[in-house]
Amino acid sequence: MQNLKVGDKFFLTGTIYTARDQAHRRLFEDIKKGKKLPIDLKGTIIYYCGPTPAPKAKIIGSCGPTTSSRMDEFTPLLLKAGLKGMIGKGRRSKEAIRAIKKYKAVYFLTYAGCGALLAKYVRKAQPVAYQDLGPEAIYKLEVKDFPVIVGIDTKGRSIYE
């Protein structure tokens, strides 16, 4: 992570977890109450994504990134709890950038509005928490060569500035 520089393009292989608005709210509230979280955030990468349901014989539906800034208010606490990376689209707040720098995390961008294309890089998808939230549930994804761009690096440098 430390070696990644803002603007670097590369391909991600491994495990990531989807989480968007309502899942963030729940994780945030559980951390505040000191409750055990349904996923271990330590060293984890969260993908801001709510996929379409998987059609028959497919692993996942369309699965592009959603607007990251809606998650900004929850991000500092999640980073404090061990979150190491986020994938989304668009700008982040000053507070979120400060926290990314403080906890030496990375914010990645991926191709926005290209959910059908990005589905090709998902090898496994399994809901692991908050299934009552439907598309906003947390999914564990195994990705291979998932394309990302470093949007904010561990030094807090942003691609938009």
Binding site: P53, R91, G113, C114, G115, L117, K120, P135
Partner: protein, 281 residues
Amino acid sequence: MRKISAARISRAVSDLCIQANMVLRNDVLNALKNALKKEKNKCARDILEKIIENAAVARKESLAICQDTGLPTVFVELAEDVKIIGSLKQAINKGIEAGYKKGFLRSSIVKDPLGRGKAGYQPAIIHIDLVKGNKLSLTVLPKGFGCENKTQLRMFKPTARIEEIKKFIIEAVKDAGADACPPYVVGVGIGGAADYAVFLAKKALLRKVAQSPSRPVAREIYKLEQELLKKINNLNIGPMGLGGKTTALAVNIETYATHIAGLPVAVNISCHALRSASCKI
């Protein structure tokens, strides 16, 4: 009176939901291809290529172009000589639910905006216009909310100068910046009342994005659209906000009569995945 059954309307709406979400509008696809021809920024070119590739994958594999399959908005033109057998509203919502389920599209609608709760497929937003003739026209616009969240309305003074209005529209695009999936199509509504200006801004997105002077818009409005598009494309926002001269594919303006005391202007931005489909029964 020509009779049209509710079941027929449901079937048509269901098909339109699938078509709109999986097959990118030809005018939008062509505008993206033209933008790629003109774009020199390497990163912008790469993103435009991926957007075009995404549309091809979605169509080929029957996948949604974007996972945000939107808040379905349905524009109905109901002719005075048409009699609907059954409930039009129920028929549309039934068609939405059927189409979204059949196409594996996302359930993104919460019935209670404050309580939220589990997301479902409907109700849709339905706009009905009464027209002459004996046909029923339906258009489904499944607009994503990343760009919907960037909507702006300003109630200008009736004495406002055109420069102030241009600045407001350009600032609205700057505010959306990188967040709402540029390159955008910028819908603008001028006139009416507050609600109607916002409606017009959204309706403007239904008009073809391919620029041509023969379109049914007044010459002055056409000139204004061209000038705004040029200025917006000089903002260097670019695809995904990473620079380049492709910030918007088009600026579409709709106007309507207004009150002597006011001049409402609304901006409703669409992401590059501007999706809609229409049919006539």
